[in-house]
């Protein structure tokens, strides 16, 4: 009985996860190493990977700062009524339930070129939709809950006694945060950062809608994979996908490491 279950588990993992990963690697090497290099060194591939990198940097920075602050307010703030806190707390999860395509649509509807706000901004020379700012906003929307949800349970667990003690002893809130709160939430934040980076690297639906997928301009790595597949250029798609998959596996290893460190505290 026991053997059967373990064997079945191995079979599911092999079929669903290991074989596909291997297939991506062998598929990208179908035309040899030079084929893989050609696929990766195309100007549009380099530009797409650069766009993905830029978005990762912006989104991770903004999401970390705002996510940690919001988590602190949702757990600690005495100036918010508990009811309002509960309501905001359940709203945090909403982006999980929203299809990425719908997330992108929301941004097009609010600040797209056809809307009043979008036209106003465009008049001022700021392009949001079909440009980098829109792509960053769309990814921020999708990754919003990740950081808050990682940090909140840690804050609840450590309680507020130490912080109160620090404040009573005369420390300013900034000082209290760095000296008392930060050391305990550090690993939760790092775990949240890894999750955010992984989600941002892989974001596809929302970015596709908002970016317009313009080659060498707003194309990201995932939307380039999509376009290559649509153009039946599967070997090239595999090359870019291999890079993305390698990053994901690396992030997964980081996650395991961060999880272990998180448990120590």
């Amino acid at each position: 009985m026991r053997r059967l279950w373990i064997g079945l588990t191995y079979a599911v993992f092999a079929l669903l996860i290991v074989v596909p990963l291997v297939k991506i690697a062998t598929g990208s090497l179908e035309d040899g190493v030079s084929g893989l290099l050609d696929a990766l060194l195309r100007p549009e591939a380099l530009h797409a990977l650069m766009m993905t990198g830029i978005i990762v940097v912006f989104v991770t920075l903004i999401n970390t700062v705002f996510g940690v602050m919001l988590a602190i307010y949702l757990v600690r703030a005495a100036w918010l009524h508990p009811r309002i806190k509960g309501l905001l707390n359940s709203i945090v999860d909403l982006p999980y339930a929203v299809s990425p395509v719908i997330g992108g649509l929301m941004i097009v509807l609010l600040v797209g070129p056809d809307t009043a706000l979008g036209a106003l901004l465009e008049g001022a020379g700021i392009k949001i939709v079909y440009a980098l700012p829109g792509m960053v906003i769309a990814t921020l929307f999708v990754t919003f809950p990740l950081m808050v949800r990682e940090v909140m349970p840690v804050l609840q667990e450590i309680g507020s006694q130490q912080e109160e003690a620090a404040t009573m002893l005369g420390a300013y809130s900034w000082y209290t945060f760095w000296k008392v709160t930060w050391p305990s939430i550090r690993w939760g934040v790092i775990y949240g950062v890894v999750l955010t980076v992984a989600r941002t690297l892989g974001e596809f639906g929302a970015v596709l809608v908002v970016s317009g997928n313009i080659m060498n301009l707003t194309q990201t790595a995932t939307t380039l994979v999509y376009q290559d597949v649509e153009n039946f250029n599967v070997v090239a798609a595999n090359g870019v996908a291999l890079v993305l998959a390698a990053f994901s596996v690396g992030l997964l290893l980081l996650m395991e490491w961060a999880k272990k460190r998180k448990e120590v505290h």
Partner: protein, 271 residues
């Protein structure tokens, strides 16, 4: 006093900035999409949803997402159980691999399925000989959904099994209950909240899935066009009102599921 005053101004500014960010990024867009879908009145909303391609897409999505969630409930319950209860070589590696579908870009997941089961692959040819097709048909959509939602049930079940009091199980054995009986009467009820909330999460994620599905579905209107791809098509052809109407349908469904999950988890905490 001066420093106190300045710091309270600072914290007021900080609070407002964070709450404003939250409002602008999350609440306003969701509100905006509901407004947009009814911008031309109820009639236009009903027309957009009643369009045969639209409601067929929604029905297809719901049907396949239910199927994918059920498959994941079965697989996830088994794997969650095996990974917690048994000690065997490679257990820790498998346990870390569970999260891979979350870490992997969904478009890459779709490409994998296309490569493995596509028309030129070994599995694709075998299936063709047997007289059915996988890629660009419903099976591929279900496989894509199962892949993307794979971790939910496992991660829902594992903590419950870990927390479970061994004495309950031992008591059942001592009183002469058989293994299957113990499993169904003692262990399964403990796992149930995790299975239910994991299954619901998997369902709502499968409803929303776009990246993996768009690559493998073939997207034939009325047959393999799922709701999120339909919405994407409407946006591309500049019919944002129709896109918003179908979005509202999907969103409302997802919000109800999210609310249901909260209820299930809330009950768990109280007992």
């Amino acid at each position: 006093m001066n420093i106190r005053l300045r710091s309270s101004w600072w914290s007021f500014g900080f609070r407002s900035a964070i709450l404003l960010y939250f409002f602008l990024l999350v609440i306003l867009p969701i509100f905006g999409i509901y407004v947009q879908s009814f911008s031309l009145g109820w009639g236009a909303f009903a027309d957009s949803v009643a369009d045969p391609i639209a409601w067929k897409a929604v029905l297809l999505t719901v049907r396949l997402a239910v199927l994918a969630a059920l498959i994941n409930v079965a697989l996830g319950t088994m794997i969650g159980w095996v990974l917690i209860r048994y000690r065997f070589p490679g257990r820790r590696v498998l346990n870390s691999l569970v999260d891979l579908p979350f870490a992997l870009p969904t478009a890459v997941g779709g490409l994998m399925i296309l490569l493995l089961l596509g028309p030129n692959s070994w599995a694709g040819l075998a299936a063709e000989k047997l007289g059915f097709e996988i890629v660009f048909h419903e099976p591929a959509i279900v496989i894509a959904m199962v892949f993307v939602t794979f971790p939910f049930v496992i991660r829902g079940v594992q903590p419950l099994l870990e927390e479970m009091d061994a004495s309950e199980e031992e008591a059942a054995y001592t009183m002469g209950a058989s293994r299957p009986r113990t499993f169904f009467r003692v262990i399964l009820p403990t796992m149930l909240p995790g299975i239910v909330s994991g299954g619901m999460l998997a369902f709502s994620r499968a409803l929303a899935e776009f990246g993996a599905v768009v690559l493998v579905a073939g997207n034939i209107p009325g047959r393999t066009l799922v709701a999120s791809v339909y919405i994407f098509g409407q946006i591309e052809s500049d019919d944002t009102q129709a896109a918003a109407a179908v979005s509202v349908l999907l969103l409302t469904l997802s919000f109800l599921i999210l609310w249901g999950i909260n209820l299930v988890q809330g009950r768990r905490k109280r007992t």
